[in-house]
């Protein structure tokens, strides 16, 4: 008797990578079910980017009591504010645990679109400096792919999402297919050549490469510079799965999207050695439903995917599904993030900005590119920008009366420049996600326990970030330069990666070079959990490229009846 399946493919998660899995699979003719734990999002109703402070009861400060009660972890994210908080989870409904000495900020959204709704939109290709890093210094396992494997898929993604940026010709930060770059501000443009000159051309400041349109593209409009992308975009100018990939998937007629669907377990057929489907809990009715499919893509986000696999243990995989290697849940990483510097510029009082640029500048990695730094392995990039202080300064500036008021209206204040480092942390077996033996979420699904700690390597890197950024500001003529060496806890960069890493052999990791589980051939994992190292670049575009690549491979393999 022939097997019957509800769908050709099931995709768990509708965010950054899940939207791409849906698009690529449906466009190849696969009837695809996308399961999303959160509720639906309608741009016409739910986006709030144009809500002005005076329309908010707390003028942007947020309802502190409600936020501290319901979202005490999520409010650590700048985007979880008075109106944007609705795109973040309720921490009481979605608990996780950590050791008391290892805080981890797990910042996340559960809705159609996931975190692609309020992501930072910065997109940087990785290079072979990144894919070779583990092999070279022995931390973590060697990646099973190199830049040439992924480069065409970066291009494929860039063509669809639309990326604005400037070509720089840097080997460590490969150029991509870019729309017109956004402008630098007056002091950024002034600082770039001064920094280049002061550091032998090694420190390159470029305009942020950002998944925001500067030209109309595929029915989405160029940015209108309101500046609040993390709250939505009615003109669909920044990339999110709601704005772009899910509509493309829907247009094929092959997409079924089911919100309010928490996947509790991947069902495993031990006889065939395949994933059979998933067990879903409807988060509104709490009814359990099973869906079956020929192939399964997990795109639930790094920690959710690991949690799902650990919760899907069975007789054959007592330590978690697809975990014959014993590496599932291990080597969880984030970018070490927080240190940097800021200063003010005495000049350019005759220049101002017009419009709110939802983007900053990027300083490409310069440490451990050509020579080895004595204090740490790997490297970091900076993200920041410059603007004028505006009326904000009146809150701490002495003075009162008519002239005080008029100066806040007419004088835009000093130019300030601040930048923060994003560092590559080392993959470590000890940094892991397990299942908490007691705590369950609102729907009875066992919760994740996260144990991730920074090491001396990350701490040494943070010190260097503060120092090197201050040097650059001083070289560019800034005054009152302050260094900040404080680092955030793991998770805070919201670039959590690893836990189901790709590997060259089935002994070293969970996934092969096609993001296919070594142990379960029809199971693909293409969210952040697949990552074997972090590089220092923002990871989303790499998830998207790996997803498109894996989906193409899976569809081809299905045609050949290999799955």
């Amino acid at each position: 008797m022939a097997d019957t399946y509800d769908y050709d493919a099931i995709v768990v998660g509708s965010g950054m990578s899940g939207g791409w899995a849906a698009k690529e699979l449906t466009e190849r003719g696969l009837r695809t079910l996308v399961l999303e734990a959160g509720g639906p999002i309608d741009p016409r109703i739910d986006y709030v980017e144009h809500v002005q402070p005076w329309q908010m009861h707390f003028r942007g400060f947020g309802d502190r009591k409600a936020l501290e009660r319901d979202q005490p972890i999520q409010i650590k994210c700048y985007a979880c504010d008075e109106v944007g908080h609705k795109f973040f989870v309720n921490d009481n409904d979605n608990p996780y645990t950590t050791p008391s000495d290892a805080p981890f900020n797990w910042l996340r959204g559960r809705q159609v679109g996931g975190r692609s709704i309020m992501w930072g939109r910065q997109v940087y290709r990785w290079s072979d400096l990144d894919f070779e890093a583990n092999a070279k210094d022995g931390h973590g396992n060697d990646w099973p792919i190199r830049y040439t494997d992924i480069a065409p898929w970066y291009a494929h993604v860039e063509r669809f999402i639309g990326v604005s940026g400037a070509q720089e010709g840097l080997s460590q930060l490969p150029d991509g297919i870019f729309q017109r770059p956004m402008q630098m501000t007056a002091v950024e443009a002034d600082a770039r050549p001064k920094i280049l000159k002061a550091f032998n051309g090694e420190r390159v400041m470029t305009i942020g490469r950002v998944a925001i349109l500067t030209e109309n593209h595929n029915g989405r409009l160029a940015c209108h510079y309101c500046g609040a992308c993390e709250k939505g975009c009615i003109t669909l100018s920044y990339f999110s799965s709601v704005n772009a990939t899910l509509p493309a998937a829907r247009a094929t007629g092959n997409l079924t999207l089911r919100p309010h669907s928490a996947v509790a377990e991947v069902l495993y057929d031990a006889k065939k050695g395949r994933a059979r489907g998933v067990r879903v809990i409807d988060t509104l009715t709490r009814h359990e439903i099973e869906y079956t499919s020929r192939i399964l893509f997990l795109n639930a986000s790094t920690i959710e995917t690991v949690r799902l696999l650990l919760n899907s243990k069975n007789a054959q995989f007592p330590d978690g599904l697809a975990n014959s290697s014993g590496t599932l849940g291990k080597y969880v990483m984030d970018h070490n993030f927080g240190a940097g510097a800021w200063g003010t510029h005495p000049g350019f009082k005759d220049k101002r900005t017009i419009g709110n640029r939802p983007n900053g500048v990027y300083i490409a990695r310069f440490r451990n590119v050509k020579s080895q730094h004595p204090d740490f392995l790997r490297g970091y990039g900076f993200q920041g920008g410059a603007g004028r202080s505006g009326w904000d300064r009146g809150q701490w500036m002495p003075g009162y009366g008519a002239a005080f008021k008029q100066s806040l209206i007419d004088d835009l204040g000093d130019w300030g420049f601040g930048a923060t480092g994003f560092g590559e942390s080392l993959p470590r077996e000890e940094n892991r996600v397990t299942i908490d033996p007691e705590v369950k979420d609102k729907w009875g699904i066992p919760a994740a326990r996260i144990e991730v700690r920074w090491t001396d390597n990350e701490r040494a890197m943070e010190k260097d970030m503060a120092k090197s950024m201050a040097e650059m500001l001083e070289a560019a003529g800034f005054k009152d330069v302050h260094q900040n060496e404080d680092m955030n806890p793991p998770g805070h960069c919201i670039h959590e990666m690893g836990g189901a890493r790709m590997s060259k052999t089935s002994k070293e990791g969970v996934l092969n070079k096609w993001n296919q589980a070594w142990d379960v051939k029809n199971l693909f994992i293409t969210d952040g959990s697949c990552m074997a190292s972090t590089a220092c670049q923002n990871p989303s575009i790499t998830y998207m490229a790996l997803t498109a690549r894996a989906a193409a491979h899976a569809a081809e393999a299905m045609k050949r009846n290999e799955l």
Binding site: R59, F61, D350, T353, G355, P398, G401, A402, K405
Partner: protein, 196 residues
């Protein structure tokens, strides 16, 4: 009693029903004597906030702080946003500002002449910002400035904020506006002492 105060008293009556009796009695007596309200500002504290707000941001050819309702924003923050300990400290700080005004000028801040108000602010701004009442003053000033520049009339008519600018320019020229208000000395003598 204003309607707002009535509503607040009614709300507090509901809340008081779950408090232990002793605390409830003490709270009722404070309400009854008018020495303190519930979570908000007393009339005296509100008068101080209004006077301070309009001394920091007076009416010129553009609205004053209270013209755009900054005092109501301050009350929202004090009564609905602030943590209990911060509210207590802030209200005590306001009382301390008035106490200092009484000591130095025999009147509460709101009843001082513009010159005396200015002198008081200069004195509050001249010392450490970390001790009260200066700490409360700086907290209030921050709320006044934030509340003013995030108000609808100021964002729309004074700052002329464009919600969807449609372009970004990183190095546009600053247009120097010459308006009568730039040179006019306010008749109240409230010259600014901005040197930040």
């Amino acid at each position: 009693m204003e309607r707002r105060d009535l509503l607040r008293a009614l709300a507090s009556a509901a809340a008081l029903s779950v408090l232990p009796n002793e605390k409830a009695l003490a709270a009722w007596s404070r309400l009854a004597t008018g020495t303190a309200t519930t979570n908000g500002l007393s009339d005296a504290q509100m008068a101080l906030v209004r006077a301070m707000a309009d001394t920091i941001i007076p009416r010129t050819d553009t609205p004053s702080a209270t013209d755009v309702g900054v005092h109501r924003f301050v009350e929202v923050i004090v009564s609905e946003y602030a943590k209990d300990e911060d509210r207590t400290k802030f209200l005590a700080g306001l009382d301390a500002i008035d106490a200092r005004a009484r000591t130095e000028s025999s009147a509460v801040f709101a009843e001082l002449s513009p010159e005396a108000r200015g002198k008081m602010i200069e004195s509050l701004e001249s010392g450490s910002r970390d001790v009260d009442p200066a700490q409360t003053y700086w907290r209030l000033k921050g709320l006044v400035v934030h509340g003013y520049f995030t108000s609808e009339p100021v964002m729309k008519d004074v700052l002329k904020v464009v919600v969807m600018p449609g372009k970004f320019e990183g190095a546009a020229p600053v247009a120097i506006k010459k308006r009568p208000s730039d040179v006019k000395v306010p008749p109240s003598g409230q010259e600014a002492h901005a040197h930040g």
